[in-house]
Symmetry: C2
Subunit: 208 residues, 2 copies
């Protein structure tokens, strides 16, 4: 187990890797599983070994709003923040591609901050990068209309999956941007006419 941890979290010191290996448990989840719910207490800090997790916000009426993805080598900032105070989760986390996770029990997360410099830096860096990502999300909804938000959304997706072929239905996109399917279809058609995308069934190809 030592080797893969070192590979996926290269910034971890050797002692930290040993500590992780000795104390943390590995759990697997299937695509579609929800591993964190709004209002649920958080008992572990979650590190991603493999797979992909979608982190989103949910409102009372079941509306979703996409925030970001968690990928191998990353950790859930919310689970770190809440861990120290035994707080409730403010977000939803759903498995998009089957994942393997390292679950670090709550008290260790705290203890390691003092013991392992590389853990401390990893945690702080996780906070920072998520905070910045969330600020960008705020920008996109505060300052931009739906057409620009859609472009922003598609580009983020392409960045994450590392390809230009997005396997998404219009309905999925609409849910994650909290609008309706018709609006997305309409805007995508316009984008196609401008030559920005090429539309196929369950597949949007980014041309630029």
């Amino acid at each position: 187990m030592l080797d893969p941890i070192k590979k996926i979290f290269p910034s971890f010191s050797t002692e930290l890797v040993k500590d992780v290996d000795a104390n943390a448990s590995i759990q697997s989840f299937k695509a579609g599983d929800i591993i964190m719910r709004t209002g649920q207490y958080i008992k572990n800090t979650v590190l991603v070994i493999s797979g992909k997790i979608k982190v989103y916000r949910e409102d009372e009426n079941g509306g979703e709003f996409f925030m970001y993805y968690l990928q191998p080598g990353q950790a859930c900032a919310i689970s770190m923040i809440c861990a120290t105070k035994n707080e409730k989760s403010q977000i939803m986390a759903k498995v998009v591609e089957d994942v393997e996770l390292i679950m670090v029990p709550l008290p260790l997360m705290d203890k390691w901050m003092m013991q392992h410099r590389s853990w401390y830096e990893f945690v702080i860096d996780t906070y920072r990068s998520r905070f910045e990502e969330v600020l960008e999300v705020i920008d996109s909804i505060a300052f931009r209309a739906m057409d620009e938000r859609l472009e922003f959304y598609l580009k983020r997706h392409a960045d994450v999956c590392g390809c230009k072929e997005l396997k998404l239905s219009h309905q999925e996109i609409a849910s994650e941007l909290n609008t309706s399917r018709e609006v997305i279809s309409r805007l995508l058609k316009k984008m196609e006419q401008r030559g920005i995308v090429s539309l196929h069934r369950n597949n949007i190809e980014l041309l630029k």
Copy 2:
């Protein structure tokens, strides 16, 4: 100087207070001063002794978007996050009421994390509460129409100033919600008709 610090930051340990007193400088700013700009490098972590600071996001066209206020006993989470990596600020911070600030130099912020348990907890708690506040802001723009956002905004203001008389012009509100003055006037009139507010010049009275 020791006494006021202890009073305003009651969670700080005696040793931490001494360290703050010995190493940090106090600076004053006047209402209207901008103490942090998008793109500017951050050299200090900022703790508020007195006064009020508005933290907001700015887009390329000068549009503003209000995020939260900083008040006595609070610290700027962004300045903490960026400090450890010597990153650029992603936000604007403007003085609303004359402030006195404790400026903690960048390297100390980091050092104290290991030395002072109470500093560590203060920093983590600052992250957590700001992150939560930002998530609520996302909710308000992602899930709600302008009328509800306006109500949310007015209530937050009332909470912060601790009174029901909000000294705000329609234009100010419009800027902070990134919409136009006419829209705010229109919605406020409707709220007045519903008996939620009472409107006067530069003064909105919350009735509920």
